[in-house]
């Protein structure tokens, strides 16, 4: 029989009830996924709203990535709930003072927004498939088309405006959503490690870099799979964005940590003990060193030297991959780290994740892989690469 719970060893004094860490690796995955959503959407918006033409090759792909990640976001939460069958209680009777209750509405709203935008972008493709295909898939496209095959110039104009509008709403939407995840943690006064006004901002910027990094990696892989050359200006554009936002993220994290130490409120001794002890490998080496400083140095070097060609593609993809790991570590260090510092301010716990079970590492890994599998299906249903299947919709195009 699976053990009821898994108690964590501790040093110093911790409250007896604290010895079971409430939020496990699944709650690490949850902000990570919402971060990817927000980040990928940002890249898409850079093209759709702000007219960065060089990002065109990935703009629609980014939308699909964002959607695939977003529909998976509730899964880690549901897996973590003691009573997932009651999850709708939070939507039926949402408690307006609860960050979580509002999150369920914000997330639902955002899913609708993403679905709408994707629908409009791929409507020409949907209509064409509905007209050509037969069988089950034909029905699928016909239902999606809502029975209207109108691809006239007038209809297209309407669609562009919807896309533009949705993209505009989506920017504060996506960023608000993820900043809000930061608020879920930052608003808890019971934990010094989380209780910070900068938490939403840090979550947001780390989200943007994780989404951009994911797009870089997926774009490069998809080019290799499709055996088409990587669009170097596009890749460079994303690399610049990654570099810029990373600087910002590092700065914010630095400020946050500095102010935490400088304020030196109750329990700072234990926090310093934590930082110098258990945090060295996951934070200083993995998140900060390998995941942030190394990619920044490599990217700086690439930009400075004007590297191009295959070297650039490989190096940028590798950097992006490291950044993805760094952001995952950042989520880990925030979510798990916050719980490893006891509320007493006089003790440390150490979380040992289970491998199997509902809240084990395996479940978390499966949740992380799910969006990629979904994406594999989605790019077949809605090919984001072909010019003629989708609506050309940059800011310039809409005007």
């Amino acid at each position: 029989m699976e053990p009821f719970f898994h108690a964590s060893p501790f040093t110093g004094y911790v409250y007896p009830n604290e010895t079971i860490i409430p939020w496990t690796v699944l709650i690490v995955v949850y902000p990570y996924l919402t971060g990817l959503v927000a980040g990928a959407f940002t890249v898409s918006s850079l093209y759709q709203v702000f007219g960065f033409q060089r990002l065109k090759p990935v703009a629609h792909f980014a939308l699909l990535v964002s959607l695939c990640c977003m529909v998976v976001v509730p899964i880690p939460l549901l897996l973590h709930l003691g009573h997932p069958e009651r999850a709708f209680n939070a939507m039926i009777t949402p408690h307006t003072t609860s960050a979580f209750a509002i999150f369920s509405y914000a997330a639902a709203f955002y899913v609708i927004l993403l679905v709408l935008e994707t629908w409009f972008v791929f409507r020409p493709h949907i209509v064409r498939q509905a007209q050509q295909r037969t069988g089950l898939l034909g029905w699928y496209y016909r239902i999606l088309s809502l029975g209207s095959y109108d691809l006239s110039e007038k209809a297209m104009r309407y669609d562009r405006k919807w896309i533009f509008t949705l993209a505009i709403i989506g920017i504060p939407g996506a960023h608000g959503l993820h900043g809000y995840v930061g608020f879920v943690f930052g608003s808890l006064k019971s934990r010094e490690w989380w209780s910070s006004d900068l938490m939403p901002a840090i979550f947001l910027f780390s989200a943007i870099i994780s989404g951009t990094a994911l797009l870089i990696v997926l774009y490069v892989i998809s080019c290799k799979l499709r055996k088409v050359p990587v669009d170097v200006p596009c890749l460079k554009g994303m690399a610049y964005a990654l570099w810029g936002f990373m600087m910002f993220t590092l700065l914010l994290e630095g400020v946050e940590f500095a102010s935490l130490v400088y304020r030196g409120r109750e329990g700072i001794d234990v926090i310093m003990e934590f930082v110098k002890g258990p945090l060295v490998v996951p934070f200083f080496i993995l998140q900060f060193g390998v995941g942030s400083v190394l990619p920044i140095c490599v990217l700086t070097f690439l930009i400075w030297r004007g590297t191009s060609g295959n070297t650039l593609v490989t190096a940028v993809a590798l950097c992006a991959f490291l950044v993805l790991l760094a952001v995952l570590m950042m989520r880990w260090n925030v979510v798990i780290g916050g719980q490893e510092i006891s509320k007493t301010g006089k003790g440390l716990l150490s979380y040992h994740p289970l491998i199997f079970g509902r809240e084990g590492l395996l479940a978390a890994a499966m949740v992380l892989v799910t969006p990629l599998v979904l994406l594999l299906v989605m790019v077949r249903l809605f090919p984001p690469w072909d010019e003629d299947t989708t609506l050309a919709t940059s800011a310039a195009g809409a005007r």
Partner: protein
């Protein structure tokens, strides 16, 4: 001219599109804001019919709890009684109430803290289901030592209730923070939010649980189980509305403190005889 008209048409359409899209988005958010009907706020205070508890009117009581740490002997009968009375999981990780021991050794500035859930004390009691403080400091020079019983503070501004997404935990009219176990989704956000570590997750029922001041007892005119069994009167419970009740007298006759005042939760468990190290 025609083009111009088309453009104007475009603009109007665009605006209406924007409007409808915004409206759709707003609708989802608004639904949450709409959620509590206008009656909710007023019903609680107005002369609504009180809950159907035989022989009890919650509007007549305001419960309060006192802890006199100068009297506590650390016998842990309260912990045992609480576990029994409330069917609490019988291990060292789930407590509705617990007792901490603060010991200042000679030459040390900070207290050494342990609770009965400490491995050393579990070893002394023989099992996790029995509770005993080991005499672990008998060979050391102790300058000062005392015991501090802990429990849910039933705060006036409970952080746990604030963060509950569903309304499964709430504060009753008579001042007790309780959990509706049939409505809790088990997200454990409240466990995180409580600065006192008073909440735990019940892995049998997959819901959060915590002290209710034995709501099923106090509404029948009994004392909470921990107060009932305390052999030295270190735990005091009563109605703050009644000026003669033990708790009113306790608060009136002592300089009482609360834990973590800075949290803004405004706890309703009043302490006497604790010092700076108590967290």
């Amino acid at each position: 001219m025609e083009e111009n008209e088309l453009e104007q048409q475009d603009r109007r359409d665009f605006l209406s599109c924007l409007g409808s899209a915004l409206a759709c988005g707003a609708a989802a958010v608004a639904a949450s804001a709409l959620a509590p009907p206008a009656t909710a706020a007023t019903a609680a205070t107005a002369g609504a019919k009180p809950p159907a508890i035989p022989g009890y009117d919650w509007s007549k009581h305001r419960w309060g709890y006192g802890v006199d740490a100068t009297k506590c002997i650390g016998c842990l009968r309260c912990v045992e009684a609480c576990k029994k009375e409330n069917n609490v999981l019988g291990d060292a990780h789930h407590f509705r109430t617990w007792v901490e021991r603060y010991v200042y050794l000679e030459g040390e500035e900070t207290a050494r803290i342990d609770s009965h859930a400490d491995p050393v004390n579990i070893a002394a009691s023989g099992s996790e289901g029995e509770y005993r403080f080991a005499d672990r400091y008998k060979d050391a020079k102790v300058e000062k030592a005392f015991f501090v019983p802990k429990l849910c503070n039933h705060c006036t501004h409970p952080a746990c209730v604030q963060v509950c997404p569903t309304g499964a935990t709430y504060k009753t009219e008579d001042g007790v923070v309780v959990i509706d176990h049939t409505y809790c989704i088990g997200c454990q956000y409240c466990v995180q939010a409580c600065p006192y570590g008073a909440r735990y997750f019940d892995e049998r029922r997959n819901v959060t649980d915590k002290c209710t001041w034995c709501y099923h007892r106090i509404t029948k005119g009994l004392q909470p189980a921990c107060v009932e069994v305390c052999p030295v009167g270190a735990r005091i419970f009563g109605d703050l509305n009644d000026k003669q009740s033990p708790i009113s007298q306790f608060v009136k006759n002592n300089q009482v403190q609360v834990l973590r005042r800075e949290s803004g939760n405004a706890p309703n468990v009043f302490y006497v005889g604790i010092d700076k190290e108590v967290i």
